[in-house]
Point group: C2
Chain length 200, copies 2
């Protein structure tokens, strides 16, 4: 069976990564979304094991030591990591695996797995990003200022991704990522083994 693809959706906090990911999952039910582990506090709207596996700093450090993360990152005092085992399992089943992760982790994955498809989701402008962060009721102004500073750094890293998609209109952004994934399927090097090209 053909292995699935590792697809990394990344970009600054507040840029709408989660909405893009939801759109992609709705388009292709064969795609599986990796659930990250995090040490950050659970929000009232969240359920453990759905948005994240909420774990302690001690558990997180143990998983690092045991090599149980495909990538992990420390970000604004909290840690985020992608557990390796379920990802490998889904890829082996031929399912595409989506990772919605922060910028540090995305670069780790591209180094470890050059075949991963990495997409940086950008805001149409810095002002738009600030407005979106302010729209989140559970984030205070100090946290927003820190996130915006971090975002500036992250934009400098965007050229290291394979693709950059501007999330101005969500439908367009989802269609753009879908086009990236379709085009990847059609690349001659990926495509040829599946074709009989009858007559040879």
């Amino acid at each position: 069976m053909k292995k699935g693809r590792l697809i990394v959706i990344s970009g600054p906090s507040g840029v709408g990564k989660g909405t893009v990911v939801k759109g992609l999952l709705a388009r292709d039910p064969n795609t599986w979304l990796s659930v990250s582990a995090t040490t950050r506090a659970i929000r009232p709207s969240e359920t453990d094991g759905v948005q994240y596996h909420f774990i302690s700093h001690e558990q997180f450090d143990r998983m690092i030591a045991e090599g149980q993360f495909l990538e992990y990152a420390r970000y604004v005092n909290n840690c985020y990591g992608s557990p390796l085992e379920p990802i490998e399992q889904k890829l082996a089943e031929g399912r595409d695996v989506l990772l919605e992760i922060e910028v540090q982790g995305a670069l780790q994955i591209k180094q470890k797995r050059p075949e991963a498809i990495t997409v940086f989701i950008a805001a149409p402008s810095f002002e738009a990003l600030a407005a979106r962060l302010r729209g989140r009721r559970d984030t205070d102004e100090a946290a927003i200022a820190l996130r915006l500073e971090t975002a500036k750094e992250e934009y400098r890293i965007a050229p290291q991704y394979d693709y950059i998609v501007v999330n101005d209109d969500i439908e367009t952004a989802v269609a753009d990522v879908a086009a990236i994934l379709r085009a990847d399927t059609l690349r001659a090097e990926n495509h040829l083994k599946e074709l009989s090209l009858g007559g040879n």
Copy 2:
């Protein structure tokens, strides 16, 4: 102004390259189709300067000698070439240029212009290709047999293209090439200069 892209649509005779190209032109009026020069006889349905510039073998040889072709190929006793000057002009105007050409010429272009996007249009099967060639009333059985032999050779070259699109359903094939072109636009290296990425 950003230069246009050179897009090569190629593949065996009878595979439906022309129909794919029509679909692409309808989707994006900013795309310009290069009109090839050929030494082959004009068909009753054709108009000089529309499907091809119909020229003599002497004219063709003179254009080769003067370096007036981006690519040219000898194919089944006839010559085909893409006049360079109008292509350069449209690219400079920022228009994408489509080339609907045979396999020999496509490989020449990829060597000369590695940035060109090359797409091999494949038939869903060898039998489907034979049936399509027989459906052309102005092609006799001997010519069909020769084209099928040529097609076998061409399929072996398909891995040297950037992309392979199977033309089973024409709507899907056109959408596939459109996805390839959209994804190319979104590649970080192509995309970044156009983004302000506000805040830097």
